[in-house]
Amino acid sequence: MIERELAAEHSTPAAEQSPASEAPRPTRKAAPKPMLTLAEFFSRRAATPARFLKDVRVNNIWGFATEDIAEALEALGKSDPKFARTTGLASAALAEKDGRFATPCLDFAREASLARLRLNPRYIALDLDALESAEDRFQAIARALEGRLETAKQRPEALNLLLSTALYMVNKENLSAESAMLALVQALGARAEHGSRADVTRLAALVAVANSTKPGLMPVLQLSLPWIEASRDTAAQADESRSRAERLDAELAEMTKQHEDAVGKLRRVQSELDAAHEQVEGLRRAEVVTQEQRAHDLREMRGTIAGSLRGKLTGAIATARDALELDPPRIPVAQEKLEIAQQELERQLEWLKSLD
């Protein structure tokens, strides 16, 4: 069912003529009346988005009137119960070369999908405004639709809603095509029993078309899916590694700072220690000098006394003794020398007293 629906959306002019289409095939004789409003597009069950867009282009219409939008939205529950046509319209508008109807169609699809999502209690419970990134918001919507994707009956509508939302967010809210694809793949891939590999491929192609007009990119993107996922894992790991490196950098910076602080403190302590050592050394030198000077002064004092004893005193007494030992003794000489000795002794005593 899904395959058919999506095939219709991507149909070529040949595909539009396929008998598998649900829309009634117009007769050749009576050319169908051009569709100039959304209401008309959705009211005609067989109308294709490509045809609708061609009609409005030909008739020089650049947008949709508010009443038209309201009317189309009003009838959308019946006219597009599986939301396939709305999604197809948005997709076709994006695929056009000039993108003239991309914004009006996407805005309409947005309004329509919101109206439809508001019927989902799990969606209502979401607080999308709290989520900062488009990726998070898209994944939240995908999770809100998880239950419906598991039910075969609800699955087409849910899938189309998801696709429509993806198209809008990729083009209007900077949701990356890769993120959209991966979220879609995860939403579908987790329920493989309900879908098929072809679903995934087509979804990827759809989003790729929405995001790129280059025809050669689609197969590449299809092939690249596993690598994209792997690269995201790698990127996530890189992010983690980066953040870990940043943490380590921060820790290293902190440790470096601590180390520098410690080194600075060590230097200060070393400097204080050096100053203390210098002071101690200075005191030690001063002590050595003082001891040296004291020893010298003591030696000088001893020398002075020795000089006195050895010089004047000894000489005078020796002479006095020589004078007394002679026969007859030379008393005046002995007296003189003893007087000299006495004077010298008194002089030395005075000097010793002066040292006190």
Binding site: A286, H296, R310
Partner: protein, 498 residues
């Protein structure tokens, strides 16, 4: 850093001093009354005795070689002759090394194991003497960091002993200072000029006829003569063994005693080898008698001062300060004469005047004061003007340093085949004019090409001053390639005060 001491290697005595904690410590001989060590060596058999014990062997206060004793070996340095001591030929540097080794060993016993010294030398010691003295010091294990002339060391020692040396320096700026050094061997006078923080020698004069030993000799002769007269001894009477040595000691004691008292008796029992009262020498000597027998020596000393002043056309009033050192200045008669000459204010009493040279050397070592060239070394130009080759004030080399100055000039008149160099110095150290009187240093002649035009032949001259303060002058002619070299050994020095 190892200690650098000041070593006063004097004619009669040697003394080591060190600066410790801002004080000068003189490493005197404490066992003998804080006296310096006599510069005497006694070759006693295989034993070498130095100092007081060696001096005690002398029976007369003579200098030089007496038997196997050498007193004042310094005076033999630089003569190029060996000494014959007790019949053995000895190099003067070996004898000097014994004295230096002894004072070094003595210093070691007082805790000062030095191997570098600022060594003082007399002004009259020329470059040859300085070289030999350095060799002698090396033999004793002493490296001479710098020579310092005795008068400069004495003046520096006096300045550093003042409470405010800078104030005294300011007071003496641009003035003349006389260093009066009357020691045992000689009277040395040096007139110094102070300019800022620089001291330069102006003129030196020495007199070795009136050393302190002459005073002792005069006293001894006088005492002996009076003794002989008292006892009417006319015939030749022998003196008892060792009696002369006792007489020397007793006369020295008497001389010292007469510093404090008016009279002292020289008493030597058993002096003459004779019977009767003449055997004992007993002569009373008064201070005036001592002064009378030595007055001509003192007069000659004072005359030497006048001669010195006359040489520079100055009177005693031109002397701002007279720094006295040497053992003789303690003699009251000499001090009184100097006070008469200069007045007491200009003749400060210097405590331990006999140590001031050693103290100055120690301060020079401590302060790293450097010798400078007192007067410029000049070269006479062809136009009869003097050009400076080495400027005055040039810092002179210390140990292992060399001063080198190359010059180039051209021969003005080569006609006689010679280029002649005449080197001289001004008589006065400061404010030198072209017309000032010069004192010649040396002449040098080199062969040049007589056929060359004037100012063609280039002459190269180089002046090198080594750490022995000897200036070597080398000249070379470029065309004739002749080379000649002479040395100047009598440069005059100053001291830069840090």
């Amino acid at each position: 850093m190892a200690e650098i001491v000041g070593l006063d290697f004097g004619t009669t005595n040697s003394l080591v001093s060190v600066v410790s904690g801002g004080r000068v410590l003189a490493l005197t001989d404490a066992a003998h009354g804080n006296m310096p060590h006599p510069s005497v060596v006694w070759y006693h058999g295989t034993e070498v005795v130095v100092g007081r014990e060696a001096k005690a062997q002398l029976s007369a206060p003579a200098l030089g070689v007496v038997g196997d004793v050498v007193r004042s070996p310094k005076r033999y340095l630089g003569r190029g002759e060996d000494l014959v001591v007790g019949g053995v030929s000895r190099a003067p540097s070996d004898v000097v090394a014994e004295v230096l080794r002894y004072v070094r060993q003595h210093a070691r016993t007082q805790g000062h194991d030095f191997d570098r010294a600022v060594l003082t030398i007399p002004v009259g010691m020329d470059g040859r003497g300085r070289r030999e003295l350095r060799d002698a010091a090396a033999k004793a294990g002493v490296r001479i960091v710098q020579f310092a002339h005795e008068p400069l060391a004495a003046l520096y020692g006096y300045l550093r002993s003042q409470e405010d040396p800078d104030a005294l320096l300011r007071e003496l700026d641009s003035q003349l200072v006389l260093v009066f050094d009357w020691g045992g061997g000689t009277l040395d006078l040096t007139l110094c000029h102070l300019a800022g923080r620089s001291v330069t020698q102006v003129v030196n004069m020495g007199n070795d006829r009136i050393g302190g030993d002459r005073f002792d000799e005069r006293l001894q002769n006088s005492v002996v003569q009076r003794h002989l007269d008292q006892h009417d001894v006319r015939s030749n009477v022998e003196v008892e063994v060792n009696a002369d040595r006792v007489l020397v000691e007793r006369c020295e004691s008497t001389k010292i005693e007469l510093s404090d008292r008016a009279m002292s008796t020289v008493f030597v029992p058993h002096y003459l080898r004779t019977d009767g009262p003449a055997r004992t020498l007993e002569v009373a000597v008064t201070r005036s008698q001592l002064e009378a027998v030595t007055s001509d020596l003192v007069d000659e000393g004072i005359r030497t001062v006048h001669d010195l002043l006359r040489r520079v056309n100055r009177g005693p009033e031109a002397i701002a300060l007279c720094v006295t050192t040497g053992g003789m200045v303690q003699m009251p008669g000499i001090r009184e004469r100097l006070i008469e000459l200069f007045g007491a204010r200009r003749l400060p009493h210097i405590e331990h005047g006999d140590r001031v040279i050693s103290a100055g050397a120690a301060w020079i070592a401590e302060d790293r004061a450097r010798l400078t060239l007192a007067k410029p070394l000049e070269l006479l130009h062809a136009d009869d003007s003097y050009v400076t080759v080495v400027p005055a004030g040039t810092t002179l080399p210390i140990e292992h340093e060399t001063y080198h100055q190359p010059l180039a000039m051209y021969c003005v008149d080569p006609r006689d085949g010679y280029a002649k160099f005449h080197f001289a110095r001004p008589q006065w150290p400061a404010r030198i004019q072209q017309g000032d009187q010069r004192v010649p240093y040396a002449n040098l002649a080199i062969t040049v090409d007589p056929s060359a035009k004037p100012l063609l032949e280039r002459l190269e001259l180089s002046v090198t001053i080594d750490h022995d303060l000897v200036a070597a002058l080398e000249a070379r002619s470029s065309l004739f390639a002749d080379e000649q070299r002479i040395e100047i050994h009598d440069l005059e020095f100053g001291l830069e005060i840090p």
